[in-house]
């Protein structure tokens, strides 16, 4: 009872009356958070505990789990593709996250330098971020179609023999990066707001000190928007850790193979495993090969990596936890 006060520390008589109005505050709070609390237990707590248990078992949808000790964990060493998949995800993270942040920052700075036309351009630049990922991916496969696609056609006008893009192991991942740059809008809007929050007098002071444009950017803009940059980096890394849809759809559409009953996972990784991301491999092991126990080993590794990043996030942004506002 005593621990639950209903307002932030303002202890007036009227407020106490308000608090007394709801006789069992703890129960009242529970009516608000009950469903969400249950959700955390069922969809966060339980699966994590179960994943650890399942990682020591072998089972299918029909057979109950059977204890196999460390077999699944040992299998990790013999898995020929887990390394390839992890490397692809690392490659995509290392290129996509900085490329998107730099691209979004540059477009946001351009927008903020405009006056009357800013909102029109902002809407235009933002729109691609609204396109469903599957839709956007199909558009890019069509756009980057080898030889006859418009991009290769235009490159030919310039006398350049365009690459095979999604059909070439060396160009498939760069093509995915282009796709991610197209849908840069949400990050751009965040940067637009962050840049507008930089106090104008800081720029004026820098000008008085004789700073040039680059120095103003380096010593005024960057430090002020640093929290947003860190946020964008970490959410970007988390986004790349689960990168699945675009790579799966691009492989499926560009491979142009009829996949039949087994669904899309038959074309995962096309061409030559260059677009096989870590979550795709997890999905394949679990739902194509029915190695559910082993899939949990892969899931736990993914969990450890992504949670380490989240812990960094929470450390850097104490305010997120809602204590001091």
């Amino acid at each position: 009872m005593a621990t639950v006060t209903l307002t932030e520390g303002r202890d007036t008589a009227a407020l106490r009356r308000g608090a007394r109005g709801s006789r069992r505050p703890r129960l009242v709070v529970l009516t608000f958070i009950g469903p969400a609390l249950l959700g955390l237990i069922v969809f966060l707590g339980y699966p994590l505990v179960a994943a650890v248990y399942f990682s020591f078992t072998r089972f299918t949808l029909i057979n109950p789990p059977e204890w196999v000790g460390l077999d699944n964990w040992r299998h990790l060493a013999q898995d020929p593709l887990v390394g390839v998949a992890a490397k692809n995800t690392l490659w995509l993270t290392a290129v996509m996250v900085p490329a998107r942040i730099i691209g979004a920052l540059l477009t946001a700075m351009l927008l903020n330098a405009m006056k009357r036309s800013r909102s029109a351009y902002r809407t235009l630049f933002y729109l691609p971020a609204l396109a469903p990922p599957v839709t956007a991916t199909i558009a890019f496969v069509l756009l980057l179609k080898p030889q006859t696609g418009p991009v290769d056609t235009m490159l030919r006008w310039l006398g350049i023999d365009g690459p095979l893009w999604f059909n070439d192991p060396a160009w498939a991942k760069p093509a995915l990066v282009l796709l991610s740059l197209w849908a840069i809008g949400d990050l751009m809007i965040i940067f637009v707001a962050a840049l507008l929050d930089v106090p104008v007098d800081l720029y004026e002071a820098a000008s008085l000190d004789g700073a040039n444009a680059w120095q103003k950017f380096r010593f005024v803009t960057l430090p002020t928007i640093q929290p947003v940059l860190v946020f964008a980096t970490i959410t970007g890394i988390i986004g790349c850790a689960q990168y699945f849809t675009q790579a799966a759809v691009a492989a499926s559409v560009a491979s142009n193979q009829v996949t039949g009953g087994g669904g899309v996972s038959g074309t995962f990784g096309y061409p030559q495993n260059s677009m096989l991301t870590y979550p795709m491999w997890l999905y394949t092991e679990g739902f194509r090969y029915n190695l559910f126990g082993y899939a949990n080993v892969l899931a736990l590794l993914l969990f450890v990596v992504s949670m380490s990043i989240t812990v960094i996030l929470i450390r850097r942004f104490k305010a997120f936890t809602g204590s001091d506002r």
């Binding site: 932030e8 969809f43 351009l110 069509l142 936890t321």
Partner: protein, 273 residues
């Protein structure tokens, strides 16, 4: 003079960028008007215009059914999310209770967790309930709160001054009455943003429907169907393009109706800590 030059330079860059952002959609639109044969050539402009491709895609594929499934998933998921997440966000933003910080931390963990981590155990739960093959495993959890929505709503609700809530409490409102009568009307932009994010997320979702309905074409969503289109047609690019554009329409219409709330929501997730 110098100023005019900078003005021209800025606008040239902005116009070039606009062209790059619009080109893929424009090319989809052009392709959707071509004959099947022309889509395999490198001519960018339709030789003859075929708007009837749009009718053909509806008659040749169960596109309406897929759109209906997707609308059901997105609509129900959004409604369920609001029912469960608005009260939770209110308790996290405006009530003081032991464990609040812990719960906020867990919400952020959940938000940051790649869905693939919990996929197998959660899939087993739904398989035991005989609900795999349907979209219910994606809708029902929304009744138990959505981490991202709770986070977003909470970020919005903390910006509402406590004075309004205190006034309601002095008038003898309980916490639920305060939420429903005072906070909800003031939080409409935040709720609109959260609802739109949830609707878009479900409308665009590919991983979830793939996981649960891959084997059951009856319950496919539009994203899943589009990605598998060439298994029904032998890469009929003109039809794929038409169907792709049709998929974008609801999202873009919704965006223009609630652009302000949406932009505010995006900003809120990233800037306000």
């Amino acid at each position: 003079m110098n100023r005019a030059l900078i003005f021209v330079a800025r606008h040239s860059v902005a116009i070039a960028l606009s062209a790059m952002f619009l080109a893929p959609v424009l090319f989809l639109a052009l392709t959707s008007m071509m004959t099947s044969n022309q889509t395999f050539t490198s001519d960018l402009w339709p030789h003859t215009w075929h708007p009837e491709n749009y009718a053909e895609v509806f008659s040749k594929t169960p596109l309406l059914k897929y759109l209906g499934n997707t609308a059901m998933y997105a609509g129900l998921a959004t409604g369920a999310m609001l029912l469960s997440s608005v009260p939770a966000a209110y308790a996290l933003a405006k009530l003081r209770w032991r464990g609040r910080n812990l719960m906020m931390t867990l919400i952020i963990c959940m938000m940051m967790l790649p869905p693939q981590v919990t996929t197998v155990p959660v899939y087993m739960l739904w398989a035991n309930g005989h609900l795999t093959g349907t979209l219910w495993p994606l809708i029902l959890p929304m009744l138990l709160g959505d981490a991202f929505s709770i986070f977003l709503l909470r970020q919005f609700l903390v910006t509402i001054p406590d004075e309004y809530l205190d006034a309601a409490r002095i008038d003898g409102c309980g916490e639920w009455r305060t939420l429903l009568k005072v906070v909800l009307p003031m939080a409409r932009p935040g709720i609109a943003a959260a609802a739109m994010f949830q609707f878009f997320y479900a409308w665009n979702d590919y991983y979830g429907p793939l996981l649960y309905t891959n084997e059951n074409e009856e319950n496919w969503t539009i994203s899943l169907a589009l990605a598998s289109f060439r298994t029904l047609h032998h890469v009929e690019w003109h039809l794929v393009s038409a169907a792709t554009l049709i998929t974008m329409v609801p999202v873009i219409v919704l965006f223009f109706f609630a652009q302000k709330a949406f932009v505010q929501g995006v900003t809120l997730t990233g800037v306000k800590g």
